[in-house]
Amino acid sequence: MAPFPIEQLFGKFIAYVIYFVIGMGFGAVLEMAGFANSPKLAAQFYFKDMTVLKVMFTAIITAMVLIFLASGLGLLDYDALWVNPTYLWPGIVGGLIMGFGFIIGGFCPGTSIVALAVFKIDGLFFALGAIFGIFIFGETVDAFAGLWNSSFYGRLTLQDWLGLPAGVVVLGVVLMALFMFWGGEQLERIFGKRNLSNDPKGRYVGALAFVAVALIVFFVGHPTIDDKWNRIAEEKQPLLDNRQVQIHPGELLSLMHSDMYNLVMIDVRDEADYNLFHIQDAQRVDMQDLHMTALRLQNLPANTVTVTICNNETQSTQAWKYLVAEKTPNVYILAGGVNYWLDVFEHGDISSLPHRQGDVLEHDFNAALGANQAAAEPDAHFLQQLEFTPKVKLAKKVKRQGGCG
């Protein structure tokens, strides 16, 4: 399934040739659109020539509907695509600054490179200026690194932010773009005094085609968490069957007392059970919120170990599958769940894991003390009495390479 790890598959040389060829396509299209010509680019901001708007947004909706269609059909793994991480305020402030630079200089970095390629001297000056500006940034950024790294939301998508299915957002973006094209053409007619009757009528057909494809994307839907699990089930199910990811309460205790790992405990039981008893620092998460949890976990440091917890193992195993399907690294399951934990730490019963049916909390409590009880945070000396096979091993962090530098 696309995308492909081309550097691993073909080696660096061929991979870089592929990028070079893609770049060629990029540069050629920009030139053909007339973007080596700075007055044409600037005219966008005087409503005379909306080429920039038309090219940019047509490109965005074209790529977008194809990406989501391919993803919905299981041809492309959207989760493996580079989605620019959101640093909200640096993005907005940087964008404003770029807008100023655009209208003063008449280019953006990409178009200035193309202008340079066709011998435009203003393009050359702009590119030199850009390099200088980048140099200044590099020398000064560490002084305000805190600001520059602020408002980080990780791999936040519009569909996650709005809480809507991707297909709805895709359709919405297509409709918004078509509206902007129509509006842009009216502005061109008024300010640019362009005669619109010379434009090809085919563009209306094109508009309908985009709406049609967006509707198809909407109906095809996008892969559910079960779809994502099924893709990796063959590889990952044995880990469950061979009990390689179910950790003994003693191992969880050692993680709690360890400085080496950043431990995150996800308790997927209902509120009632959680309030009766939960392990200190275990966070309660509903099964349907696991997608957002996975997103959050992605942004945590590389030494983060996640342990899913329920009363026995039924729900926590399901949660484990979901988190692994969302590419969360270092996820484990508390073997025997809260029931076994309490067997060991409340009742001192260290015999091997009992087999329990269902997912019911089988210990009684007089009051709902949550984590305000001894068994919620057992003392480290317990570790001396317990025997278990440690299973936690940190996966090597695969650094997803991408983005502009």
């Binding site: 053909m32 047509t58 993005g91 964008g95 655009f102 003063i104 200089g105």
Partner: protein, 173 residues
């Protein structure tokens, strides 16, 4: 090669469609979108690393790209950027648009245009790294995959441009 008869530009919707296909192709094959400022960034860092490697090793922002043994030019975006340059050139040749000239508004001199281009470029370059990408890397690529930050960025770019447009109108009109 230098022709006197430049061919007219392509219809913008068609150009956008083609650009969208290139962008989709990039994502489909490699998982990455397009970009430009990153390439320029790495070029300047490589130059710095050649002259003042110790300074690079002491500056956290530069360290990530060129610290120690790291080769800043050993990165996909650099090759994409070189390809962009080459593709623009080839298209210019085919369409008879290779011409040494300075494009500018009718009411300013060539010299003024050069200064504005440099200043605008500097502001742009700074802003692009501040935003962690430019219109190619953030707006086009991030926009297509629905990154929330990229969309916010995109509107900010247009907003900034329109906000300042009146004040620099003499440069273009």
């Amino acid at each position: 090669m230098l022709s006197n008869k430049p061919k007219p530009y392509m219809n913008p919707y068609l150009a956008g469609l083609l650009l969208g296909l290139v962008l989709f192709g990039a994502f489909f094959i490699t998982g990455n979108g397009l970009g430009a400022s990153g390439g320029l960034n790495r070029i300047i860092v490589a130059i710095e690393d050649a002259f003042v490697p110790d300074h690079v090793d002491r500056t956290p922002y530069l360290l990530k790209m060129a610290g120690g043994d790291k080769k800043p030019l050993d990165n996909w975006i650099v090759f994409l950027t070189i390809g962009t340059l080459f593709g623009g050139f080839v298209s210019g040749v085919f369409h008879g648009r290779l011409k040494v000239e300075t494009n500018k508004g009718p009411n300013i001199s060539v010299r003024t245009r050069w200064i504005l281009a440099f200043v605008g470029g500097a502001i742009m370059g700074y802003g692009a790294r501040f935003a962690r990408g430019c219109t190619s890397g953030q707006a086009l690529s991030g926009g297509a995959v629905l990154s929330a930050g990229s969309w916010a960025f995109m509107f900010a770019v247009f907003g900034g441009g329109y906000a300042l447009a009146y004040f620099v109108r003499k440069a273009w009109n």
